[in-house]
């Protein structure tokens, strides 16, 4: 009984910490073609300066802070977007080349291109006929 209690407390501790740093999950579109993957993410309010993209090991993380122009003393009366931050992470598979990721941000839409590594590009396999 006691053991279970400590266990649940341990499980709660990181959660409480994470709550201070809550973020919205941006909707994405992921399309794969023969030479790589293209990812589109809706990040309205995020500018080039407040966008943070990183690849650590095999995890690609997209993070962005909204920078809205808010007049001084504004009081919110209706808010559908209540967290000024986005975050979403993806696991990259081995055939993708994280060193060659290119990114474009236009009108709040991020376009990421992740090419496949040379050796993983599709090759037509010749079938020998004896």
């Amino acid at each position: 009984m006691n053991h279970d209690l400590t266990k649940s407390q341990d499980a709660q501790a990181p959660k409480a910490q994470a709550r201070d740093d809550v973020a919205l999950m941006p909707p994405v579109e992921v399309v794969e073609d023969a030479s790589g993957i293209t990812l589109y993410a809706d990040l309205p309010g995020v500018s080039r300066e407040t966008l943070n993209l990183r690849v650590e090991a095999d995890t690609l993380t997209i993070e962005g802070e909204m920078a809205l122009q808010v007049p001084e003393g504004m009081q919110s009366s209706h808010a559908e977007v209540s967290i000024p931050r986005y975050r979403r992470a993806f696991t990259l598979s081995k055939e993708l080349d994280p060193d060659k990721v290119t990114a474009e941000l236009k009108h709040g839409v991020l376009k990421l291109r992740i090419p496949k590594a040379e050796h993983a590009q599709p090759r037509k396999v010749e079938i020998r006929v004896h």
Binding site: P27, V28, E29, V30, V31, E32, D33, A34, I37, Y40, D42, L43, P44, G45, V46, S47, M66, A67, L68, Q69, V70, P71, E72, G73, M74, Q75, S76, S77, H78, A79, E80, V81, K106, H107, G108, V109
Partner: protein
């Protein structure tokens, strides 16, 4: 004992219940047109004593094609978001498809004291920011006592 005529509508009931709670928490009773929740674009509304500020989170639009109308205190934002082009490649696979595409329209009724002649709209980083001044006569004034 009460039994619903549509017992399968438990989700609609939950939704209504949730709305009731939200309304109680939000305090003020909503206007007859209200501001519907959800949908594209998401909308935030705020105000200062001098102006009403509306933020529509509408990424990926051509700013020339956003339709913005203000008529008798009702603001309508409409337009269309096109799907991303697929380059005609037959060998593609769509793994995740969560982004909104198609026509959209959102309507919100604004406070009575706005001045419809002073609408300012700017599209930046995918956010449409509409700022409308309140009429000077409606602004709070300190009355001097002689």
């Amino acid at each position: 004992m009460y039994r619903s005529l549509f017992p399968r509508d438990v989700f609609a009931e939950l939704d209504r219940f949730q709305r009731d709670i939200r309304q109680t928490l939000d305090g003020a009773s909503p206007s007859i047109r209200g501001i519907g929740r959800g949908g594209y674009p998401a909308i935030n509304v705020g105000g200062t004593p001098q102006s009403v500020e509306i933020y529509a989170f509408a990424p990926g639009l051509d700013p020339d094609k956003i339709e913005l109308n203000l008529e008798r205190g009702v603001l309508t934002i409409s337009g269309e978001r096109e799907a991303t082009p697929r380059n005609g490649d037959a060998k593609i696979a769509v793994h995740i498809d969560e982004r909104f595409t198609g026509r959209f329209r959102r309507v919100l009724s604004l406070p009575d004291d706005i001045d419809p002649g002073t609408v300012d709209a700017a599209y930046r980083d995918g956010v449409l920011h509409i700022s409308i001044k309140r009429r000077a006569s409606a602004q709070p004034r300190r009355i001097e006592i002689k």
